[in-house]
């Protein structure tokens, strides 16, 4: 059942989408920044919204779907509140980022296929390089960068975030 807050959020989000479309003058060439902004609102790209965006810009939904699935930043499924990005760039890889990934997967019961926890709290992503090689291995949780993270620290970090939500 929809709660009033959900409703308010949906209304808010939708008027945001209209605003975003206007901000980019409904130019089909601006589809990528438009989708980025939409994803900012919803944390993912819902199918109906993509169809709406496609119709508004006068491009086919198949094309929009193609763009949304090409770029790794876009997600068609809801992402977690906390997005843990583990850098798997060369430097981080050499310094043990795969261990971090395994640790996170173990702690959050995620896998190669399952990236988001069922409670929509965490999403695990690996990125090719955060450009923070001096801090290898590096992890970013939402916008906060953690450098030279050990497996143990990683477990502690997760516990910290979990505690914040408890």
């Amino acid at each position: 059942m929809a709660t009033p807050t959900m409703t308010a959020e949906k209304l808010h989000n939708f008027s945001k989408v209209c605003e975003i479309l206007d901000r980019f003058d409904r130019l089909p060439s601006k589809i990528i920044p438009i989708l980025q902004a939409v994803q900012e609102e919803y944390r993912y790209l819902p199918e109906e919204i993509l169809t709406f965006v496609a119709t508004s810009l006068g491009i086919s939904p198949a094309r929009v779907f193609g763009i949304a699935t090409f770029y790794s930043h876009f997600s068609l499924e809801p992402k977690g509140k906390y997005i843990i990005k583990v850098c798997d760039g060369t430097a981080c890889h050499v310094k043990g980022s795969s261990g971090l990934i395994e640790t996170i997967q173990r702690e959050l019961k995620l896998s190669e296929k399952e990236h988001t926890t069922p409670d929509l709290l965490f999403t695990l992503e690996t990125v090719s390089c955060l450009g923070a090689c001096g801090l290898a291995p590096a992890v970013v949780i939402n916008d906060k960068v953690y450098g030279q993270v050990s497996n143990k620290q990683m477990s502690e970090l997760i516990a910290e975030y979990k505690a914040m939500e408890a």
């Binding site: 009033p4 959900m6 939708f14 209209c18 993509l50 086919s60 699935t69 068609l76």
Partner: protein
């Protein structure tokens, strides 16, 4: 041109004659060069890499993307190039669904042929992908993603030529697929079923849906009377499947084969075309007499009709209300046969043999049924008919011809002309001339529009006949035409639209051919067949006259004709998905507002209403009383923006009118001064 410019191909000097790419020069020189992704009418894509050549001084590059320069020296089949091509095929085959023996495309698969030509024996590479589900929901087309080589021909055809964009690439890298939006089925999106994707597909990744088994079952059912009709274009192409020259017309053999297979009666759709000429011309003249000066569009092409329903619902009233010829023959023959056979129409099975995949969709239209039973039960493509003939063990080359059955077996040259572009409009123009001027039209030669080379036009001005006609094929071109008509840059009385470039002869149901000149050959064959037809005008067809007398109220446009051979259209959702719920409350009796944001309504400002409404709900604190949803089509586009408030459907709405209605339904009108 200055002194002959040449290039050297495998040591042989070849002149350059303005070719855009090396590939064309190579092929001109008589060298076989394999390609998946190159089509002269589509943009250069350069993805299959099979047409690689060794250019002296430059190394290896694809010939499709390299402009020829005088003095170039290239090699096309060095051991290294052959090895690389073989590796490329092996890479494709590693994950290919190799159920070749049961594949519909088996006999015309480029991948299979190339693998054989290049001597591929064992695939040294592993299967790395999980099998992908085929898409089997569309009435016209089946997709098998595991047979796709991702050459993108279908995608570019659908986008560049048809302007539909029902399919596109999705995902990235090894996960790339060609798919409708959101991995839906073709049946759930704006595909118009023209099937040109299947026609250009080098493998069996997209194929027309086969109804052969259903037809065999119907034939085996003794309680049914199974009859057939064949479309004009079929006769000019079927022979290709039996190694007969592309210009042979095999009508007599087809009729004989159909009889042999077990069809009780065999008719000719060209009869329906004759009738269409009469009804459509009459409709056009009636519209003019009634003061309607808007462009009338033909409606015999089901791909175009669906396109119009989805993308131009506002044009629906301008579509001719005539059923397509297949519908007319189905409708009339079922009615007549039910009397002569003493059977219910349900027990008469009409099988259409069509060059077209969209006809398979058309037959399922609700409007093309009577008392819950379809006017056409099955549609076989030319390809399917060929397969049935083979399956029945008929030696097609040797079979003695037979005649079609009457009354729906006799036709005029005009009706036969429906098989290629300009045929319909020519027939209408000529009939109008005979009807209004009592004389034959002096000539009918549509010429390319000077400003817009996307369509042809024929401006007729002879005594009482003043008709401006546009003839357009391919929906991309059609879209441009509609744009210009709407912008009042051009004006036409009648527009003939065919979804497939070149018209029905090049329909996606025709035998697979990679010969670019094939459509012209079929057109010529059809034209020649028309010339030897004894009857030239539909109104001279004695059976047309008889059917009018017996069944259609003796004249075109009669009440009976409207009952039996005219139809309706509906605006259509482009994509099957849920409405966007913007405000949902669990209040026991909420007022539900549905705002249509489909293409047409959207242009009319439905979004302003939506955002205005969301603001209003917020501002007035109506959150817990209202369900606000955005839907993708309320299917009433010509009167948009369409908004439903509670039970009330409102057209041409504005924010104020919607707010007023909501206040009324919330019972706020009196309390709010």
């Amino acid at each position: 041109m200055n002194k002959a410019e040449t290039i050297t191909i495998n040591g042989k000097v070849v002149p350059l004659e303005g070719e855009k790419n090396l590939l064309s020069v190579i092929r001109k020189a008589g060298v076989e060069m394999p390609t998946f992704c190159y089509h002269s009418e589509l943009s250069v894509y350069g993805a299959c890499r099979l047409c690689i050549v060794d250019i002296e001084g430059r190394g290896i590059d694809t010939s499709c993307s390299t402009p020829p320069r005088a003095g170039m020296s290239i090699k096309t089949h060095t051991p290294k190039l052959r090895k690389m091509r073989k590796t490329l095929i092996e890479l494709l085959l590693a994950n290919h669904d190799t159920s070749c023996t049961s594949c519909d495309k088996s006999s015309a698969c480029k991948l299979k042929d190339l693998a054989a030509d290049l001597g591929v024996k064992e695939i040294p590479f592993k299967k790395t992908r999980e099998p992908r589900k085929p898409d089997l929901l569309s009435p016209s087309l089946l997709r098998y993603p595991d047979k796709c080589v991702l050459c993108g021909d279908c995608v570019r055809y659908c986008n560049e030529i048809q302007g539909v964009g029902a399919i596109d690439f999705a995902y990235r890298g090894e996960d790339v697929v060609v798919t409708p939006a959101f991995n839906k089925s073709l049946a759930q999106v704006d595909c118009i079923n023209c099937g040109q994707c299947a026609a250009v597909c080098p493998t069996g990744a997209i194929v027309p849906r086969s109804e052969i088994d259903d037809v065999w079952s119907a034939l085996a059912d003794e309680s049914k009377t199974v009859v057939a009709q064949i479309a004009p274009a079929v006769r000019a192409a079927l022979g290709e499947m039996f190694n007969m020259p592309a210009s042979s017309v095999t009508l007599g053999k087809i009729m004989a084969a159909l009889k042999y297979i077990g069809f009780k009666e065999v008719y000719d759709t060209s009869f329906g075309a004759d009738l269409t000429v009469m009804e459509e011309t009459n409709e056009y003249l009636e519209r003019r007499r009634a003061g309607d000066n808007k462009t009338m569009f033909t409606s015999c092409c089901p791909g175009w009709v669906k396109y119009a329903e989805q993308f131009h619902p506002d044009l629906i009233p301008q579509l001719s209300s005539c059923m397509s010829p297949q519908g007319m023959v189905g409708s009339l023959s079922k009615k007549l046969l039910s009397q002569t056979e003493g059977k219910s129409e349900k027990d008469i099975v009409m099988v259409s043999i069509m060059p077209c995949t969209a006809k398979k969709f058309e037959k399922d239209r609700e409007e093309l049924s009577r008392d819950g039973s379809p006017l056409v039960d099955y549609v076989l493509t030319t390809q399917e008919l060929g397969k049935m003939i083979k399956e029945a063990g008929i030696v097609f080359e040797d079979i003695a011809p037979a005649a079609a059955d009457l009354p729906f077996g006799l036709y005029s040259e005009a009706g036969l002309g429906f098989g290629a572009t300009a045929g319909v409009s020519e027939a209408v123009a000529r009939y109008a001339s005979r009807a209004l001027n009592n004389q034959e039209l002096s000539s009918y030669e549509p010429v390319t529009n000077e400003d817009f080379p996307f369509w042809k036009e024929a401006i007729i001005d002879e005594d009482n006949v003043k008709i401006r006609i546009a003839v357009v094929a391919g929906l991309g071109n059609t879209e441009k035409l509609i744009e210009k008509i709407n912008a009042r840059e051009v004006s036409y009385d009648l527009v003939e639209v065919m979804a497939c470039p070149d018209g029905c002869v090049a329909g996606a149901g025709q035998p697979v051919s990679y010969d670019h000149g094939i459509a012209d050959k079929r057109k010529t064959a059809l034209k020649n067949a028309g010339k030897i037809t004894p009857i030239h005008c539909p109104e001279d067809n004695p059976y047309i006259q008889r059917i009018y007398e017996k069944m259609l109220g003796s004249k075109p446009g009669s009440h009976e004709a409207h009952e039996l051979v005219h139809t309706k259209y509906q605006s259509r959702k482009r994509i099957d998905n849920d409405s966007m719920e913007l405000a949902v409350t669990d209040h026991e009796a909420p007022v539900e507002i549905n705002v249509c944001v489909g293409t047409s309504c959207f242009l009319r400002g439905s979004q302003d209403i939506l955002s205005g409404m969301t603001a209003k709900i917020d501002q007035e604190g109506w959150k817990d009383r209202i369900n606000l949803k955005a839907t993708f089509c309320s299917e009433n586009c010509s009167h948009g923006p369409t908004v439903t408030v509670g039970e009330k459907k409102m057209h041409k709405t504005s924010l104020d009118s919607v707010v007023a209605e909501v206040e009324e339904q919330l019972g706020l009108v009196t309390s709010r001064k």
